[in-house]
Homo-oligomer: 357 residues x 2
Amino acid sequence: MKPLQKIEEVGKALVKQAASQKPLTLEVPVRSLSNVIYDKSTHMLKLGDKVSERNFFNIAHAKKFLQTLEVAAASKELLEANKHASLRDVFYMIKRTIPGTKTNIVDDQPESDSAIEDLELITGFSREQLHINANKMGSVSGHVIIEDQGDEINWAKMGSGGWSIPSNVEDIKFKKVNAKYVIYMEKAAVWERLHEDRFWDKQNCIIMSSQGQSTRGIRRLLQRLSFEHKLPIYVLADFDPWGFYIYSVLKYGSINLAHMSEEMTLRGARFLGIMSSDIEKYGLKKHLITFKDVDIKRIKQLQNYEWFKEHKRWQKEFKNMLKMKAKAEIQALSSRGISFITETYLPEKIKNKDWIE
Amino acid sequence: MKPLQKIEEVGKALVKQAASQKPLTLEVPVRSLSNVIYDKSTHMLKLGDKVSERNFFNIAHAKKFLQTLEVAAASKELLEANKHASLRDVFYMIKRTIPGTKTNIVDDQPESDSAIEDLELITGFSREQLHINANKMGSVSGHVIIEDQGDEINWAKMGSGGWSIPSNVEDIKFKKVNAKYVIYMEKAAVWERLHEDRFWDKQNCIIMSSQGQSTRGIRRLLQRLSFEHKLPIYVLADFDPWGFYIYSVLKYGSINLAHMSEEMTLRGARFLGIMSSDIEKYGLKKHLITFKDVDIKRIKQLQNYEWFKEHKRWQKEFKNMLKMKAKAEIQALSSRGISFITETYLPEKIKNKDWIE
């Protein structure tokens, strides 16, 4: 079933309820922390079985009920026009005062955002499939040819800039993928280093970066390359609690997107960032940055995440980091020479399988 | 003279001073606020004439003197290798302990950043020309063909993503520019709206966005299109003090980059964002966001900027905004329909010359 059909089905079911004078209800899986579980068999965070009923005639539910239908109507409008909107657009699309009252359908964007997440669960389609886009961010290069919006795009012929990754990558067609693996990094500056050195060409891989956190578009693009082309995904991040967490989210999913884990997580992702053993090996001791209290607190949280708890290799890493009470950045490798990362560090780590899985 | 020659010249002059047993000195224009002036004839912020002497044998100057030479050496290394580094890379490249002491050449990145800005002034070359790159961000589309790193890139054939703008656009060659103007917007989501509606194709223009603040790469790219191809630049920003300030920086320059104004500012930039008269005209009254104290404070600052002080049109805008005590976002236009911005708002504004210059 297509998204548009599904939305119509949801609407028709409600019309039927109304026609038979039954109370109007929607069933929505519970998205709170109490219903997020770590599934050991699939190694990902997912939603549990708890479902809540939303009743239009319950005064505590009525507004959320209405908001959910309003975003469904906005999504239907977008799907029919074959256009996409951002979360902010959808907020404005449904924002208005209910006639004869002083009540607004939505006052703040978190309300429409939350209704959109509910719509994902009710319909079983991601918000990208519902034509509601997340943020756009990031660049990619490699020996890959794609087709997108009727254009054929060669990721190996993008000059110094790379192809700009859109917020929605669902409709991209891979025409040719000639790569052994993908390296994803959070820092655009590190991407520019790898790109200038034509690392993707010399090592026959794909390099991808965001400019800050990984967007849904980037996560989906990584997942599609991993699933459809069986490419290993390496995550190149700092030796610090936040770098580890970036990896954690990519691999195991996150609490607030637990309902999207199957579309988002990278089961085989490998941490290729700096590890405690690299500090000595690559002479980074002088470039350690001393922990603040917040770093210690964060590492202790990571230690106790269910998916890390029984993971001996990660526990060792957390312990070593707590012993050092310090972190180190990828870019500290530049102290060894501007291309040390592309000529020595990365090829050596990959050859020696010196990563954490 | 090329950057590499200039750096060597600076070095040789110092060697000569040392050989003739003169005290080692560098002359550096003062970059503090006291030396930033608004030049009414060129309409841009620029540095005044104040120059400070940095003496190696003055204990208060010695460290800064050394830092300046160290970044010059790092830049020389990069230029010779024909490679580029980020500010963070350069920090790590020069970070080390001076032998026999416990003093580090740099402890924090702001120290090396500041030395790099001094080097720009001493050599007369931008840090991009010195092979030190700023952040990478943003996307672009339009009927433009460029050559970059041996690749021919057609900005009209980039699928849904666009071309990803590099941090350094100095070496890009424009092969074909078929556009009447450029629209720059800070929000990637707005860019995706314009791009999906193929606004650049229908209106024969270039659309460009950052994802957050405008980077130096974006500002230089806009300036090159404005200077080399005489294209008007429109800035599409929110009706709010921060949106106005984005325009202000693009057009008049900023205090901390006053020494780069000639390479950065867009003398003819036009504000095409929402204006007070648009609120009524386009039915956005319901989507006004009430001012906080900080917004009022910010507007009052803008009112007093020298370049706005005698600008009647802007003063009117500030006054109207203070009367409304409210701001409005570009995306509020989505309440009028998802493509209202591309089908009505922008074509109408441009046709009626309804912008602020």
